[in-house]
């Protein structure tokens, strides 16, 4: 079965700083992968490259074995992709952001139906039907006509999830979805994400610090360090018996800062 995501010797730098160096990575369709590690280690960059928010300097990124950042010219390969090509590739990928990024000038409903209508070409009725179904799933049907600035952080993120799901992506990227939330709201959002994981055969790539959540949802946990995956494996293995010292250090720090993680497990 083709991997849904494949990074082939990818190098990404911001000016002089190299963030990813000869980076290899694969993800199977329907797999749930959690990326963990200290800040600046490159995990968010992997997401942003997949969402075409960042380009790459070397190597090739494949979505279902089709190059993402390169178009195949008639002769053979590898011309940097143009905007039209990127738009085509993007349509199967969705993203959730740490700071939600809801459109403040639109109601919750409008936020959710805008892209299906204007990008996917759905009629207003179809888009609204889809939106209502998603709002029910995330538990916010009563906030249909509200504006984002009247919502709490947790509610905003749930709307963002509905908005992303409305475009029926095959791959959903989560960039620290609960890091900007007050502790009481984290649980609700994680429940919604777990619900998504349970029912759809959606591939999910999640950057998070929430260990308990990773243990519940992830098929595989990758520990990132200095732009490489230091070690990876099933959550139970990584969390209880990490092989690398750096992994152990990181886990110790994170667990120390969030003791409730272990308690709620």
């Amino acid at each position: 079965m083709k991997p849904i995501v494949r990074f082939d010797k990818v190098t990404k730098s911001f000016g002089d700083t190299i963030v990813l160096r000869d980076f290899d990575f694969e993800m199977a369709p329907g797999e749930r992968v959690v990326l963990m590690g200290p800040s600046g280690s490159g995990k968010s960059t992997v997401l942003r490259i997949l969402m075409t928010l960042e380009d790459i300097q070397k190597g090739v990124v494949y979505l279902s074995e089709v190059p993402l950042w390169h178009e195949r010219s008639r002769a053979g390969e590898l011309r940097p992709a143009g905007e039209k090509y990127l738009r085509k590739m993007r349509s199967d990928v969705g993203m959730l952001f740490q700071h939600f990024n809801l459109f403040p000038n639109m109601t919750v409903l409008r936020n959710i139906i805008e892209a299906p209508m204007k990008v996917a070409g759905l009629s207003r009725a179809e888009a609204e039907a889809r939106a209502d179904e998603l709002l029910a799933r995330v538990g916010l049907s009563d906030k249909r006509e509200a504006y984002p600035n009247s919502l709490s952080g947790g509610q905003k993120q749930r709307v963002a999830i509905a908005r992303a799901m409305a475009m029926r992506p095959k791959l959903l990227l989560f960039d620290e979805p609960t890091s900007a939330l007050d502790p009481e709201m984290v649980g609700d959002v994680l429940e919604v994400i777990k619900d998504l994981a349970a029912e759809h055969d959606l591939s999910m790539l999640i950057v998070t610090h929430e260990m308990g959540f990773a243990r519940d949802v992830a098929d595989r946990v990758c520990f990132f360090c200095d732009g490489r995956i230091l070690e990876q494996g099933e959550p139970s293995q990584i969390f209880t018996a990490p092989a690398e010292e750096r992994t152990r250090q990181f886990l110790r720090m994170v667990l120390h800062e969030a003791p409730t993680e272990e308690a709620t497990g």
């Binding site: 928010l53 969705g94 952001f97 939600f100 000038n105 990008v119």
Partner: protein
């Protein structure tokens, strides 16, 4: 010193001033959006053109621009009437300042909005008009209000190319009746009154936009 008899000619002039101000503010707004959006364009040529326009019209004096349009252009065969030259000069001038406001407001929209729009696969044009512009518009209103008042004040300069606006009427009347003090006081008051009306109108516009966009300007 019959002040009331001085009013009618001044009011005629004020009407011309009002029309010129409205026309040039509208023209300036169009230019401001064109150049402001142009300066964020993907194509380097548009950016360069917009930059050149803003640089020239912000870097030189309005009166020089006005005189150039009215006195210099005829040399190469383009003869503009005082009305056209006046409105054109005012529009070009205020448009350049407005372009900087538009550009700044667009840039001040949170980068995350642009990223979310990309994630949802909107085209660049859709992103600009449906997501960025509505949010930027509310930020533009306070500076636009100031520019509108500035335009009203600048409009007095068209009297120097013999356009019969309020300033021209005042100068004319002064020459004819020598009642300089009442004439100039009335003129100042008339301009001030028009400024107050303009400020109120801009405030209403801002309130309307705030309702439409669901958010407040961060002033």
């Amino acid at each position: 010193m019959d002040w009331l008899s001085l009013l009618p000619p001044l009011l005629y002039g004020a009407e011309v001033t009002a029309w010129i101000t409205l026309a040039s503010t509208a023209g300036g707004a169009i230019l401001a959006f064109a150049a402001g959006i142009g300066s964020t364009a993907r194509f380097a040529g548009w950016r360069w053109l917009a930059g050149l326009y803003v640089q020239i019209f912000r870097g030189t004096s309005l009166l020089v621009q006005l005189f150039w349009l009215y006195f210099a252009l005829p040399i190469i065969g383009i003869r503009l009437s005082p009305e056209v030259a006046g409105v054109l000069a005012l529009s070009l001038n205020i448009g350049a300042y407005g372009a900087e406001v538009v550009r700044g407001s667009l840039n001040s929209v949170d980068a995350g909005q642009y990223e979310a729009a990309t994630a949802l696969n909107f085209t660049p044009i859709q992103t600009l008009w449906r997501i960025l512009m509505p949010q930027a518009l509310i930020e533009m209103m306070p500076p636009f209000g100031n520019l509108a008042i500035q335009n009203l004040k600048d409009s007095a300069l068209v009297s120097l190319i013999s356009l019969a606006d309020l300033a021209f009427a005042a100068d004319n009347l002064r020459n004819r009746t020598l009642e300089t003090l009442p004439i100039l006081i009335l003129t100042l008051l008339l301009y001030f009154a028009m400024a107050l009306v303009l400020m109120a109108a801009m405030r209403l516009l801002e309130r309307y936009l705030r309702g439409v966009s669901g958010r407040e300007a961060t002033r």
